[in-house]
Amino acid sequence: MCLAIPGKIVEITAETTHSALVDVVGVRRRVDLGLLQEDQPKAGDWVLIHVGFAMSKISEEEAHDQMQMLQMLGESQAAMEEVRGYGLDGEEEKIS
């Protein structure tokens, strides 16, 4: 919850501009962009994610450092579990 997870924006969904498909070490989930309204990221940008929301835009280098730091803290598994859980673990598609 408190540690930020780095991810790369793969695709911004046209109809819902407040969400984007984000890749976190190969796991792709939808992430909310509503808190970056004043500095909208585009595909290819890197962001820090907290509880399913992109909170800040960062450089690719910073993203790699952040992921390495999560590993060093022993938190990378918990981070990936969190990312996999976004969208109720795939339930999202059933709703729409």
């Binding site: 919850m1 408190c2 540690l3 930020a4 909310d32 509503g34 808190l35 970056l36 309204q37 004043e38 820090l48 907290h50 509880v51 399913g52 929301f53 909170m55 800040s56 960062i58 450089s59 910073e62 450092d65 390495q68 730091m69 590993q71 060093m72 803290l73 022993g74 918990a78 579990e81 969190e82 990312v83 859980g85 976004y86 969208g87 109720l88 339930e91 999202e92 059933k94 709703i95």
Partner: protein, 376 residues
């Protein structure tokens, strides 16, 4: 030794540690508080104390939201889940946190509908998937997570989603720092400021700490080098008799914070007159409640909340540890009655709590920076 390569630029780390030694006045005792629980975890994990001079004490602050939540709030939230029509949704961090009658996970085992969500927006999805039920999201966190809850409430209102509500336990970091500085038995020389919380609030809200209290504060990243560099910045200020707000984590934290996030928080939340913090007691204007315009989505207004208050056992000295008066191991219950597996006090509950971090790392160090000297 196998982890040593993980540290980027070990030479720079050792140089920075040397710089810290040069800047330290051997006649002086330094007390520096890291406010954020993430920093506490990193400090123990990386064994930073080993490279600091003995007269620098790192005091672990109140910035772990799970640790400072009074037990009664968990019981209040779980009391709502006694209604079979209610789904209790919370982050995984909350699931093992004990209430007086067990943790959310234990309530689930007793047949309550308790679900983990990883994002507050997923609680909305849960509500849509279960139109015959009411989904109550147990919201927790500092300014790092409060904006996400705010946006989620805005969406629920926009969609007229009425089988959804939020039990709001969001707290704010500035009043907690003020309470610590106001505490009579507290003496601090400076602060390592929170990293991710500051991406939202920026650096300006800390200015009173330097201007009015005369203490330096450096907003800091989470890597070992970030922490050591921030300590250098603090020591330089102390040596020069300065007190400024500085930003060591510029690569992520903008000075003005995240305006969209602050706007959403302001639209949805207002300050509570006071709120209880575990270990610190009641602090005025230190927590957020849901505004009247969102009353339909406020679990505290939609349900009867018992308002349970449970005081921590007298023997648990969480308050003293939280204020840095005692070290974790100096508490009478530490590693005896109170362990991470069976926590009595607040600070043993989460991995970011100072007692849990001390317990997990102090006796089984897998890597410390002092090891680096032998390999560089």
């Amino acid at each position: 030794m196998k982890y040593v390569d993980e540290f980027r630029d070990p030479e720079l780390i050792l140089k920075t540690a040397e710089e810290i030694r040069r800047l330290t006045d051997p006649q002086r005792h330094y007390r520096i508080m890291e406010v954020c629980g993430g920093h506490t975890h990193a400090i123990y994990r990386f064994g930073l104390k080993d490279v600091l001079p003995e007269n620098i004490d790192l005091i672990h602050g109140p910035g772990c939201p799970v640790c400072v939540l009074p037990m009664g709030r968990i019981d209040d939230g779980l009391s709502i889940a006694a209604d079979p029509k209610v789904i209790f949704a919370a982050f995984g961090d909350m699931m093992r946190v004990p209430g007086a009658n067990g943790s959310p996970l234990e309530h689930k085992a007793r047949g309550r509908d308790v679900r983990i969500v990883y994002s507050p927006t997923d609680a909305i999805k849960l509500a849509k998937l279960n139109p015959d039920k009411h989904v109550m999201f147990f919201a927790i966190g500092f300014e790092t997570t409060a904006p996400s809850t705010a946006l989620t409430l805005q969406r629920a209102k926009a969609e007229g989603l009425l089988n959804f509500s939020v039990f709001c336990n969001h707290v704010t970091i500035i009043p907690a720092i003020r309470a610590i500085l106001d505490s009579p038995d507290m003496r601090l020389d400076g602060f390592i400021g929170p990293g991710h919380c500051s991406t939202v609030i920026g650096c300006r809200p800390y200015e009173w700490i330097s201007a009015d209290e005369g203490k330096p504060i450096v907003v800091c990243g989470f890597e070992p080098l970030d922490l050591l560099q921030s300590i250098v910045m603090l020591l330089r200020q102390l040596k020069n008799g300065e007190a400024k707000v500085e930003n060591q984590y510029k690569r992520v934290v903008p000075w003005e914070g995240n305006r969209a996030a602050l706007k959403a928080m302001n639209e949805v939340f207002q300050l509570r007159p006071y709120f209880e913090w575990r270990g610190l007691g009641f602090i005025s204007q230190s927590a957020l409640r849901i505004r009247d315009s969102y009353a339909n989505w406020d679990a505290e207004r939609r349900f009867n909340i018992p308002g349970i208050r449970i005081t921590d056992p007298k023997a648990a000295q969480c308050g003293e540890v939280l204020k840095g008066v005692l070290k974790p191991a100096q508490c009478k219950l530490f590693a005896r009655e109170c362990t991470p597996e069976s926590p009595v006090g607040a600070l043993m509950v989460s991995s970011e709590g100072s007692c849990a971090a001390f317990y997990n790392y102090e006796h089984r160090k897998t890597v410390t920076i002092s090891n680096l000297a032998s390999v560089v």
